[in-house]
C-alpha cells in the first residue's frame, strides 16, 4: 500500500497539473466556507451532479480542494465580523474578533491563513506517510474515550467562565440543555421538541450558529459606525506590512504543529469533527500558554490554535474512508457516493486496485494547500478592509446572507425561525454579559457527549466504571484533570510567589 518517493513526486506533479481545477475549487470553497450554512458538505451536495458527470479523479480533486478551502474560509468572517462560517471556526471568534476590533484584522487574517495552510500541509504530509497507523486510532479511541475527548472540549466553558464564573456556567448549561432537545439516541423518543418536527433531530447547528453569532452580531453592529477603530479606516496595510505579518505568523510554528496534529487525530475519530478539534485545541493552547490570561482579549495564539486544528481535521476525516472504507464525516460520506457512483472501490481495496487515486486524494489536499499559500496571502491586505465598511451597510447584508444560509442545509422554513430565535437569545446574552460561544459549545458538544455516554453505558450494561476501564481512557482522564487544575494551580503559585516577594521586600 505504500508508495516510494519517486511515485509520490510524480503524484505531486500530476496533482499540480490540476491547477486549473484546484484554484477555482479553492475560491468556491473560501466563499462558501465564509457564508454560514453553505460550508463544504452542503456545497458538495449542491455540486454533486457536476462531480458525478466527470471522471472520478477530477471529481475527488475538486471536492477535496473545495473541502480544505471551506475550512479556511470559515475563519474569515469569524475574525472580521465575529460570525464563524462553520462550527469549526467558532473558537476563532474568541480572539480573532477582538483583534479586528483593535484594528489588527489584517494580522489576525495572516495568522489564520498561515495556521490553516500550515496545519493542512503538515497533516496531509503526515497522512501520506502514516495512513495505516492513523487508521488504527479508531481501534483505541471508542465511545468511552470519546466521552473524555468531549469533556476536553467542554472544559473551554470552564475557561470562559473563569472571567465571570456564574454567567459562564449558566451560558454553558443553557447550551447543554438546548443541545438535549430532540429524539433520544437509543429509543428515538422526542424530548423537549414541543411537537415541532424540525426539532426531532435536535437543535440544528447551522441556524443556531447563525442566530447566536450572525444575527445577534448584526444587531450589536448597528450600535457603532464600524467594527475597527476609526483611525484604522484611513490606512490599508502596505504590501511590506502584509508580508511582515505573514512572516511573523510563523513564530507560532510549534503551536501550529501540535494543534494541527491534534486536529488530525480528532478528525480520524468517528463522530468527532472540526468543532470539537478547534474547541479542544483552543483550550489546550490556553493551558500550555505562558500568557493564558491574554486569551479572549485578542491573543495571537487564540487564532492560531483553532485554525490549525480545524484544518488538521480535514485530512483526518478522510482516513477512515480511505483506510477502512467507512466515511468518518458527512463530507467523506458524499465523497463515498461519488466513488460508488463511478464503481470505484473504497477502503483497502482502493489502495490495491487504484493506489494512484487513493494517494492522489491526499496529495490533492496537499497541493490545494500549496496553491492557497500563493493565492490567499495577498487577500489579507484587502479583506481586512471589511472592518471599516459602515455597519449600516454590513448589518442588513449579514442578516440576508446568513438567513439564506440557515435555510440551505435542510430546506425547512422553520430553520429561519430557529435562527431568529437564537439571534434574539444571542443578543440578550451579549447585552447582559453571557458568552454566546459558551452557549454554542454546549449546543454542539452536548448531543455528542450524550451519544458517547449512552453508547458506553449500553455496552457496559449500565456499569459506570466502564469509563475508567481502559488505559487510554484513564490517561485521558489524567490529562483532563491536569488541564483543569493547571490554570488555578499556576495562578495560586504565582500569587504565593508575589505575596512572598512583597513580604520579603517589606522585611527588607
Amino acid at each position: 500500500m505504500e508508495m516510494n518517493a519517486a511515485g509520490l513526486a510524480e503524484l505531486f506533479l500530476y496533482s499540480v497539473s490540476m491547477w486549473w481545477l484546484i484554484i477555482p475549487a479553492v475560491f468556491i470553497g473560501i466563499l462558501m466556507g465564509a457564508i454560514p450554512g453553505f460550508a463544504a458538505h452542503n456545497t458538495i451536495i449542491m455540486l454533486l451532479p457536476l462531480t458525478l458527470a466527470v471522471d472520478v479523479d477530477l471529481a475527488l480533486t475538486f471536492m477535496v480542494a473545495l473541502y480544505c478551502a471551506s475550512h479556511l474560509g470559515g475563519g474569515i468572517p469569524a475574525i472580521l465580523l465575529n460570525i464563524p462560517g462553520t462550527g469549526g471556526a467558532a473558537a476563532t471568534t474568541l480572539d480573532g474578533y477582538p483583534m479586528s476590533q483593535q484594528g489588527n484584522a489584517s494580522r489576525a487574517l495572516a495568522l489564520s491563513f498561515v495556521a490553516s495552510i500550515s496545519g493542512g500541509l503538515i497533516t496531509s504530509a503526515v497522512t501520506l506517510f502514516m495512513l495505516q497507523y492513523l487508521s488504527q486510532v479508531g481501534f483505541y479511541v471508542r465511545s468511552v474515550e470519546m466521552v473524555v475527548v468531549m469533556l476536553f472540549g467542554l472544559a473551554l466553558i470552564a475557561a470562559i467562565a473563569a472571567r465571570d464564573m456564574i454567567k459562564g456556567l449558566i451560558a454553558g448549561a443553557l447550551g447543554l440543555m438546548l443541545g438535549a432537545m430532540g429524539a433520544d439516541h437509543i429509543y428515538a423518543t422526542p424530548r423537549g421538541t414541543f411537537g415541532i418536527l424540525e426539532l426531532f433531530d435536535g437543535v440544528p447547528l447551522v441556524p443556531a450558529l447563525i442566530g447566536l453569532f450572525a444575527i445577534s452580531e448584526a444587531l450589536i453592529m448597528l450600535e457603532s459606525r464600524t467594527i475597527a477603530p476609526a483611525a484604522s479606516a484611513r490606512a490599508m496595510p502596505s504590501w511590506s506590512q502584509t508580508f511582515r505579518e505573514i512572516l511573523g505568523a510563523f513564530r507560532h510554528w510549534w503551536l501550529m504543529l501540535w494543534t494541527s496534529l491534534l486536529g488530525l487525530v480528532i478528525g480520524v475519530l468517528p463522530g468527532a469533527g472540526a468543532s470539537i478539534a478547534s474547541f479542544v485545541a483552543y483550550q489546550q493552547a490556553r493551558v500550555f500558554s505562558r500568557t493564558p490570561e491574554a486569551f479572549g482579549t485578542g491573543h495571537e495564539q487564540g487564532v492560531v490554535a483553532p485554525e490549525a486544528a480545524n484544518n488538521g481535521v480535514t485530512t483526518g476525516t478522510l482516513v477512515p474512508l480511505l483506510a477502512i472504507g467507512v466515511p468518518g464525516g458527512s463530507t467523506a460520506a458524499v465523497m463515498m457516493v461519488v466513488l460508488q457512483f463511478h464503481g470505484v472501490p473504497f477502503g483497502p481495496r482502493l489502495f490495491v486496485q487504484d493506489p494512484v487515486l487513493a494517494y492522489g486524494v491526499i496529495m490533492s489536499m496537499f497541493v490545494a494547500y500549496v496553491f492557497m499559500l500563493f493565492t490567499l496571502f495577498p487577500l489579507t491586505r484587502y479583506l481586512s478592509r471589511i472592518t471599516v465598511v459602515a455597519n449600516y451597510y454590513m448589518a442588513p447584508m449579514i442578516v440576508a446572507f446568513t438567513l439564506v444560509g440557515a435555510f440551505v442545509p435542510r430546506n425547512f422554513m422553520a430553520d429561519l425561525t430557529i435562527a431568529v430565535a437564537f439571534g434574539l437569545l444571542g443578543y440578550v446574552a451579549r447585552k447582559t454579559g453571557y458568552n454566546v460561544a459558551a452557549i454554542l459549545i454546549g449546543v454542539i458538544l452536548g448531543p455528542l457527549l450524550e451519544r458517547s455516554f449512552l453508547l458506553s453505558m449500553r455496552i457496559s450494561g449500565g456499569d459506570w466504571t466502564v469509563f475508567f476501564s481502559s488505559v487510554i481512557g484513564n490517561v485521558l482522564w489524567g490529562l483532563l484533570a491536569v488541564t483543569l487544575l493547571a490554570s488555578p494551580t499556576m495562578n495560586l503559585l504565582r500569587n504565593l510567589r508575589s505575596a512572598r516577594n512583597t513580604q520579603s521586600k517589606m522585611e527588607h
Binding site: R142, H185, A332, A333, Q340, G343, I459
Partner: protein, 343 residues
C-alpha cells in the same frame, strides 16, 4: 497501473472536464440528474420529481436511490431532486414527506424493513396503505450478523458460545430494525442475553464492528458486502444465502444454530401519498411504468453492480408485492413489539 492512470487522466484534460462540467452545471442548476440528450416530455412530469430519503446522505438508501435514478432518467424525462431528512429512526423523513403536496411529484424512497417497523412502533399516526402506498419494490436483501476482520469470532457458533458466558453486544443501526429483531429473537431462542447498541446509521454501526467496540454487528447484508475484507459475515437471516460469494459463503442462521427464526429481509420501495394515488392515477401509472422499465433495463443491473450491491438482490415487485412486504414487516413488528420497546 500508475502509468495507465496518469495517461488516462491526461486524456481527460480540460476539454473533457469542461464538457462534463457543462452537463453537470446544467443538471446542478436544475437540481438533479438529467440524462444527456433527453428532452422533457410535454405531459407528466412537467417539472422535477422530488425524492425524499428519510436517512442521511451517503447511506445505503442514498446509494440505491441514486443508482436507480441514474437509469430512471432514460425512461422518465425529468430531473430528480434528492432531499435527505434523517432523524428519529426515519420518522422525520416520513412526517416531512406527508407534509408535502400529494401530487405524485414527491416520492419517498423507503427502506421497508426499519421504516415500517418505526411507523408501527413509534405512534407516528402514519399508516401504511391508508396514508402511503408503496407502488414499486426495487431491491430486497436479508439481514446478516457479521464481525470485523480482527474479531476473535470466526463462526456463528463461536459467537453464540461466548454469548452463553456473558451478554453479547451487537451494533445495530437503530432499534426498530429487522436486524435488531433477528438478534433479539436469536437471543430469546438460545437463551443468551443480547444487548443492542444503536449507532444511528449503517456507517457508524459498521465502524463499531470493525474497531471491535462491540462483539458483532447486525445489518442488511449489503453493508458487509461493500466492505469486502473489512467484514466477515457469520450468518444470514434467510432461508438461503443467495449471495455466497460476497458473504464469505456464510451459512444461514437457522442452518448454523438449528433455530427456527423467520427470514428477515428489508426491501427498498418507492412510495407515494395515498391522496396522490387516488387523485392522480394516471401520474402514478406513468411513474410505475417507467420504474418497471428501469428495473428491466440491463443498464440498471450494471449500475447496481457498480455500487457493489450483488444484482441478485434486485427484486422487482409490483404494488401488491411491495405492500405484501410491508404488511409482513408490520406483523413482524407486532410479534416482537415487546422486545423492541422493552415493555
Amino acid at each position: 497501473m500508475k502509468q495507465t492512470k496518469l495517461n488516462a487522466a491526461g486524456r481527460i484534460g480540460r476539454r473533457r472536464f469542461l464538457a462534463g462540467a457543462g452537463a453537470g452545471v446544467a443538471a446542478a442548476a436544475s437540481g438533479g440528474l438529467l440524462a444527456p440528450g433527453m428532452a422533457l416530455a410535454q405531459g407528466f412530469p412537467d417539472r422535477n420529481i422530488d425524492i425524499i430519503i428519510p436517512t442521511g446522505e451517503g447511506g445505503g438508501a442514498d446509494r440505491d436511490a441514486r443508482a436507480f435514478a441514474s437509469i430512471w432518467g432514460n425512461h422518465l424525462p425529468t430531473n430528480f431532486q434528492f432531499g435527505y431528512y434523517p432523524g428519529a429512526a426515519g420518522q422525520v423523513g416520513y412526517e416531512f414527506y406527508m407534509s408535502r403536496e400529494p401530487d405524485a411529484y414527491s416520492l419517498i424512497f423507503a427502506n421497508l424493513g426499519p421504516e415500517v417497523i418505526m411507523l408501527e412502533l413509534q405512534g407516528t399516526g402514519i399508516t401504511v396503505g391508508k396514508d402511503i402506498v408503496y407502488v414499486q419494490q426495487t431491491l430486497s436483501e436479508p439481514m446478516a450478523v457479521w464481525v470485523g476482520p480482527h474479531s476473535p469470532f470466526r463462526t456463528l457458533e463461536e459467537l453464540v458460545e461466548e454469548g452463553r458466558r456473558r451478554p453479547l453486544t451487537v451494533a445495530v443501526s437503530r432499534l426498530p430494525h429487522p436486524a435488531s429483531i433477528g438478534m433479539l429473537a436469536l437471543g430469546e431462542e438460545l437463551g443468551i442475553e443480547i444487548i443492542l447498541v444503536p449507532y444511528g446509521g449503517g456507517n457508524a454501526t459498521a465502524m463499531a464492528a470493525i474497531t471491535m467496540e462491540v462483539d458483532c454487528a447486525a445489518l442488511p447484508v449489503t453493508n458487509s458486502i461493500v466492505l469486502a475484507d473489512q467484514s466477515l459475515v457469520l450468518g444470514v437471516f434467510a432461508k438461503e444465502n443467495v449471495a455466497p460469494e460476497g458473504t464469505d459463503n456464510a451459512p444461514t442462521v437457522n442452518a448454523a444454530l438449528g433455530t427456527s427464526l423467520p427470514a428477515l429481509t428489508s426491501s427498498r420501495a418507492w412510495g407515494v401519498h395515498r391522496a396522490a394515488y387516488d387523485a392522480y392515477p394516471e401520474r402514478v401509472a406513468a411513474l410505475v411504468q417507467s420504474m418497471s422499465a428501469t428495473l428491466a433495463d440491463p443498464a440498471y443491473v450494471a449500475a447496481v453492480e457498480g455500487t457493489g450491491v450483488p444484482p441478485v438482490f434486485i427484486d422487482p415487485g409490483n404494488e401488491a408485492e411491495a405492500m405484501a412486504s410491508a404488511q409482513a414487516t408490520i406483523e413482524l413488528a407486532r410479534r416482537y413489539r415487546d422486545l423492541l420497546t422493552g415493555s
